[in-house]
Each structure stands twice: as structure tokens, then as C-alpha cells.
């Protein structure tokens, strides 16, 4: 049999493992950082591994119907597929292992792929019939309309600047000009960063999950393996978002160490902002995103069009 197929399958597995480990590890680190800010000791950084292993080992005795099985399956499909289409490393170093399907998709495809999971998850949550889940979904989708606007403005600005919509193209542009997009079009970067706050659903934008208000939102009826799968896909998705951001605004990373440093610094922005914030109401959150972040995004696009 052809050797390259096995290599690419191994590459897929390596990428998934990397994303899973890094995502879960970051999740634990976030809990640790939060704890330190609150003057606590906090759980060990590997706590989330224990949580996921435990959840996988729990029995799942009930279901509310087919969609409850399919919801987490949709979620993991979306996160792993998105991962396959994202360049993990920028090609300066040794990227053979993480190439996957990088050249087969582009940013606009990825935008939609990332929504696929939320919608599938929402369908699963809807099947359970829990009103908390429905409220959570309603809030989450509403908020998504909010932050997608500055996010798209930021993406449009950088895509117009580099005259490409592919992520590898954007990385090549940054490498060729020996610069980072965040310095090339800073306004777009700021708009994208503000949109990212909403994308990670940390406070003050944690309206869909809203602990102490909505049980745990869409996930209310999901326990055991379902929850484990959701946490897995959540961890991978967090990694995907971070790597995407690093790729398009920070020139990608040439090796794994740089990747970890960049993504970690980036991840701290929503986390640190969230630790000291209370929670918005849904419409406040939407209006927030349609206010300054959108204005900055529009200015960013105009900056690219008229000045660059």
C-alpha cells in the first residue's frame, strides 16, 4: 500500500493528540491562573485530564432521543475537521506532520465549519427538552450574531490587505514581508481581539452557560460520555481558535515552543479580562459588540482600503 497514506493518517492522529493535550492542558492552566488571581491555590494543571478520564468512565444510562447522541458527534466533527484545515506551524520549520488538509480550505470555509459544531450541539441540547438548554442556546446564538460582525470586519481587512483568503496564503504574506498582521493593520487586530473575547465565552460574555443562572446552559442534560466528548471538542476548539488567531495575526509559529508561547499569551487575554468581570445581559453583550468593536473594525477596513 502507498506509504504516504499511512504518513498522513499518522499526521492526523498526531495533530489531534497535540490539539487535545494542549487544549486540555490550557484548560487546567486557566483554572490555575484564575485561582491564583482569586488568591487560592487552585487545582493542579493536569486536573482537566482527570475530569475527562472520569467522565469517560461514567456510565450513561439514559437518552432523550437520537439527536442527543448526534449533538456531541456533530460538535467533535466540527472541531476535528476545523483542526484538519488549519496550519499548525508556518512552514518555516518542520511541518510535515501537521500539514493535513491545510491547502484544501480557506478562512471563509473555516468560519462556517466552526459554527457547524455549535449548531449541532444546539440540536442535541434541544432534543433533551430542558428549558435551560433552550434558553442557553437562544442566548448563545444571539451573542454569536454580535461578535461575528467585528470578527468578519477584522478578517475582511486582513484578507484585503494580503489579497488572499487562504490561511496559508496569509501566513506566507506575513513571512514574505517579514512582519506580523497585528502590526500591519493594528485596528483589525484590535477588532478581532475584542471579538475573540466573545468567542471564548469567558465572563463577561458567558451568557450562554451562565453558571448559577441557567444550570449549565445547553449542556444541562449531558453527563458522562456526552459531557466528556463535549469537553474534548471544546478543548480542541479552543486550540483551533488560538492557532487560527496566531496564524492570521501573528505570522504563525515556526516550531512548537513558539506556538505554545504565542497561543498561551493570546489565551490569557480573554481569561484575565474574564476573571475580573461580572456578566453582561445578552442584549448588552450584543450591543457591546456592535458598538466600539464594530466601529474599530470599520476603521480597520477603511485603513486598509485607503491608506495601505
Amino acid at each position: 500500500m502507498d506509504n504516504s497514506i499511512w504518513i498522513s493518517i499518522l499526521g492526523f492522529l498526531a495533530t489531534i493528540t497535540l490539539a487535545f493535550v494542549v487544549g486540555v492542558f490550557y484548560g487546567g492552566l486557566v483554572r490555575k491562573v484564575t485561582a491564583r488571581i482569586q488568591n487560592r491555590v487552585g487545582p493542579p494543571f493536569y486536573q482537566n485530564f482527570f475530569d475527562i478520564v472520569k467522565l469517560y468512565s461514567k456510565t450513561t444510562a439514559i437518552n432523550h432521543g437520537w439527536m442527543q447522541h448526534l449533538g456531541p458527534a456533530f460538535a467533535i466533527t466540527a472541531s476535528v475537521t476545523s483542526l484538519m484545515f488549519i496550519p499548525i506551524l508556518n512552514g518555516q520549520g518542520d511541518m510535515m506532520w501537521f500539514e493535513n488538509l491545510n491547502f484544501k480550505g480557506d478562512l471563509i470555509f473555516l468560519l462556517y465549519m466552526m459554527v457547524f459544531g455549535s449548531l449541532g450541539m444546539a440540536l442535541g441540547a434541544g432534543q433533551t427538552g430542558n428549558p435551560y438548554s433552550a434558553i442557553g442556546v437562544s442566548r448563545g446564538l444571539s451573542q454569536m450574531v454580535g461578535y461575528e460582525i467585528p470578527w468578519v470586519l477584522a478578517l475582511v481587512a486582513i484578507m484585503m490587505q494580503a489579497e488572499t483568503t487562504s490561511i496559508t496564503g496569509l501566513i506566507d504574506y506575513q513571512n514574505a514581508n517579514d512582519t506580523w498582521m497585528m502590526f500591519e493593520s493594528p485596528l483589525a487586530f484590535i477588532a478581532g481581539l475584542l471579538a475573540m473575547l466573545g468567542m471564548f465565552h469567558y465572563a463577561p460574555f458567558d451568557v450562554p452557560f451562565a453558571p448559577a443562572e441557567l444550570a449549565s446552559g445547553p449542556a444541562s442534560e449531558f453527563g458522562g460520555k456526552y459531557l466528556a466528548l463535549m469537553m474534548t471538542s471544546g478543548a480542541i476548539m479552543a486550540f483551533v481558535k488560538l492557532v487560527l488567531f496566531v496564524d492570521i495575526f501573528m505570522g504563525g509559529a515556526s516550531n512548537l515552543v513558539m506556538l505554545l508561547v504565542k497561543t498561551f499569551l493570546l489565551y490569557m487575554v480573554p481569561v484575565l479580562y474574564g476573571v475580573v468581570s461580572p456578566r453582561y445581559r445578552t442584549e448588552q453583550s450584543i450591543r457591546y459588540f456592535w458598538g466600539w468593536p464594530t466601529a474599530i473594525g470599520v476603521l480597520g477596513v477603511l485603513y486598509v482600503v485607503f491608506i495601505r
Binding site: 468512565s57 450513561t60 444550570a215 449549565s216
Partner: protein
């Protein structure tokens, strides 16, 4: 398979270790004991360093923490919450009230021993138990889980008729669905 038992044992050790270090708590705040939970979880005593974490719904939780006396009305809700949790699951009875009714010994509408209605794995005595005692109780439970001795859920499944009879004795308007897993 010859080494089936051995591999099962290894899996058990990993699972028990993970279960021990990750306890999702559904704190059922009945009675006055609930006031001791916030200091246990927050900065002063920080139970999260043992992997103990609050959860909002019974579907996701491992430990049911019953904090204080249980009126018969409340008991019904506690049983419901317990039955909605997924295996493996544990119960911690908190305060004297769950052991002998405490100061409600001669009350007409509170139960005296929680263990008659749902299987309790660990009791924390005292009125009130301080956060240190609560953490002590959790560590006791972790030890039991590690040794595979925290088997309240299997006990409940095996003796469901006895538990049901006890429950029906005190709960007047019985409309609970069947226990189904």
C-alpha cells in the same frame, strides 16, 4: 483471555484514580449547613485544589452533598436529584441532622437517618461542621473511592425495594417515576 482480570484491574486503578481526583459536587443546600459550602469552595479553604468542583445539574455530578436536616418534602427532591445522577455516584451526609435528626429529633416532619432513604457513603458530623471538617470528609470519600469501597450506588440498586418502602413510608403524595438505571 488469560490476562483479562489483570487488564481490568489496571483499568480499574486508572478509573479510580481519575474518579478520586475529580469530584463534581451537587450541593443540595437544605437547612442551615449550606452556609458552610461557600467558604469551603472559595479562597479561604479552596476545595478546588483537591479536584472538588461544584456542578449545577445532577446529570453531571458525582457527589450529592446533603447539608443539614431534611423535611419530608425536601427528602422527595433529594431522592429525585440522587436518582437523576449517573453511576458511579456518592452521597455525603453533612451535619448531625443527617445522622440522627440533630436538634429536630422530635420534629413531626423531618427524617432522622438519611441512610434509610438513600445510601450515604460518608458522614461528616458536627453542628455545624467547619470547612476543615467538610474537606476531611471529602478526603475520606476519596480514600474510599481509591480502594473501590464507595459502592453506595450498587447498594441502592440491590436493595431498591427496601429503600423504596422506607421512602414511601414518609413521603405521602408519592408520584416518583421508577428508578431506571
Amino acid at each position: 483471555m488469560p490476562n483479562d482480570k489483570k487488564s481490568q484491574k489496571i483499568v480499574d486503578i486508572i478509573q479510580n484514580a481519575a474518579r478520586k481526583h475529580s469530584l463534581f459536587v451537587l450541593a443540595y443546600g437544605t437547612g442551615c449547613g449550606a452556609i458552610e459550602i461557600p467558604p469551603t469552595m472559595t479562597s479561604r479553604y479552596d476545595a478546588e485544589r483537591f479536584g472538588i468542583r461544584g456542578m449545577a445539574t445532577p446529570r453531571q455530578a458525582d457527589v450529592l452533598l446533603v447539608t443539614g436536616y431534611l423535611a419530608t418534602k425536601t427528602l422527595k427532591r433529594v431522592i429525585r436529584a440522587y436518582e437523576q445522577m449517573q453511576d458511579p455516584k456518592y452521597v455525603i451526609g453533612f451535619g448531625s441532622c443527617t445522622i440522627n435528626g440533630g436538634m429536630y429529633w422530635d420534629s413531626y416532619n423531618t427524617i432522622k437517618l438519611l441512610d434509610k432513604y438513600i445510601p450515604v457513603d460518608v458522614y461528616i458530623n458536627g453542628c455545624m461542621p467547619r470547612p476543615e471538617a467538610v474537606i476531611e470528609g471529602f478526603i475520606e470519600l476519596q480514600g474510599l473511592i481509591k480502594d473501590g469501597k464507595a459502592n453506595g450506588a450498587t447498594k441502592y440498586k440491590e436493595n431498591i425495594d427496601w429503600y423504596r418502602a422506607n421512602q414511601k413510608k414518609v413521603i405521602k403524595n408519592w408520584n416518583m417515576p421508577d428508578y431506571n438505571w
